[in-house]
Chain length 356, copies 2
Amino acid sequence: MHNKLFIPGPTEVKEDVLKQLSKPMISHRGKEFSALYSEITQKLQKLLYTENPCFISTSSAIGVMEACVRNCVRKKSLNLVCGAFSKKWADIVKACNKECDIIKVEDGKAIKPEMVEEKLKTGEYDSVFLTHNETSTGGMNPLEEIAEVVKKYPDIIFMVDCVSSMAGVKIEVDRLGIDVALASVQKCFALPPGIAVFSCSKKAIERSKELSNKGYYFDFVEFLKYHEKLQTISTPSIPHMYALNHQLDKILTQEGDENRFARHKEMGQFTRNWTIKNGFELFAEKGFESNTVTCVKNTKDINVSELIKTTKEKYNLEFGNGYGELKEKTFRIAHMGDMTLEEVKDLLEKIEKEMK
Amino acid sequence: MHNKLFIPGPTEVKEDVLKQLSKPMISHRGKEFSALYSEITQKLQKLLYTENPCFISTSSAIGVMEACVRNCVRKKSLNLVCGAFSKKWADIVKACNKECDIIKVEDGKAIKPEMVEEKLKTGEYDSVFLTHNETSTGGMNPLEEIAEVVKKYPDIIFMVDCVSSMAGVKIEVDRLGIDVALASVQKCFALPPGIAVFSCSKKAIERSKELSNKGYYFDFVEFLKYHEKLQTISTPSIPHMYALNHQLDKILTQEGDENRFARHKEMGQFTRNWTIKNGFELFAEKGFESNTVTCVKNTKDINVSELIKTTKEKYNLEFGNGYGELKEKTFRIAHMGDMTLEEVKDLLEKIEKEMK
């Protein structure tokens, strides 16, 4: 009996998906592989409403975040920081010896389009990094409105970390003018961790061509070169590709992507109502709460670690403590991936029972 | 019925190993994960005869090859090139905007220790890159003798690509003074591709601390920081870690590493004898043939693609064509991982039959 995961990654993976990982290996330079690659990339394009090529990186999303820096920051980026993961992206810019300015809002608060506008109109930046859904705070930034602002600056490469939103929330890449939309697969895709996926615009490729010191493993130009052969730049995680292809069928055909997004919305709303009903507060700013993970402010000063431990031991259900400095001050319920509203209800009932 | 793989990666993966990939997910920041991590790293230390920490990278080996460049080349490296993969390592040095000098021998020939000595005594280099076993040519460089030379230069960081030798050939990391020994797991480990492993000396960490522009995803200092917490720098491929832990038990305890190395030697010898007996020549220089993959020079001018196709269709056995420009001019029989001598004999018999 394993613990069912309501932590914000890795999320619970269904049995049929896990089984896909155990299929025999094939050559990554053969026809069978190319057919698999082609299917996946087309399905990702559909999911992301884009005609840009979609690439697979054998790395976590952090790897692709670094790729964005190396390929698309010419001189100076604008980083929109509202929590641990958006802060990390800014750290990576510096770790790649590039400059960045930061717009920082208090953890849990959202980035507003006017803040972005004010900075961009100085003309100092060549790239913008936005974390769509901050897994550490349960806040979701207004992607649509920020995208409208960024669009006015044609030289900007707009890169969006959709790690905990992609496949759970609708993201229309082409309409919003997103140059790179990236995610790992252990969140709303409900796959085991091990690969990341991203869409990559022509503009991002052109920027990459301008730059040197990109290395090889994360070079977008190399990604495209192999993509055109329906291959990956080096031997990829074939088990994850089997599972991703299977899961994309379930998402797009079996459940339907619109239904999937609606289910996430419903689970988010239910969890937020539960939070208020139980006398807690939401950590995220009102109007900017995430539909994939709820961060509950521990206003009742309960012992979070103890509650997590009990729920795990008694019911084999595992939810998350606060991230980093928010540990004990918050706790997080992930309602993402293949979780159903019924399963979320069940968890919340058990938590409620144990709090009494 | 799948094709049994005698290609030089990915190699055939046994059913019990594949099953390990399908175990339910766990949090990568919890105790259960740390116990798994700890077991793996200790077993890798045993396999590599080292007290250096052994790290896991969610990437292919190419990623770790790039990490070596970013973390350990201060100014200029010496790259020992004898085939496609060692050439790629030199290309990566340049793609990271660092300098390198190349010792190049003809494909299939081996790097000799005196060539290395001649270059190193100029004092121009701070690092050496050696490909132990060139998967593209079936040649194995004299690691022991080259290591003796490199040892005389205490400022050099010595990095060895053991991609197609680790877990198939004995590599005594500490005795040989190897600073970084790296491999992906889809070769002699007989796991699916998706992660890479490497040992990392204190000297390599010290060098890394000197350098900037390392990024985050491949920063050795970050690897060590998380290693000390028995964690990985970001969410790793947990399925691969389950499988690696299981496979390391089989290698070290069930089969025994010395027996495993002996089996590879025996398969190598058998395949070389078969090559000669059938009127072909070995592509690798005499005395430097690999025990994990044999590259057969197509001196009889057979249609290699056709033979591969027939063997696959008739017997569900797949071996490899030559790599890159060596296609059709050579073919490659991988005898690595969990393959037995009986299975190699069976393949070679079938090939022989179809050639007639």
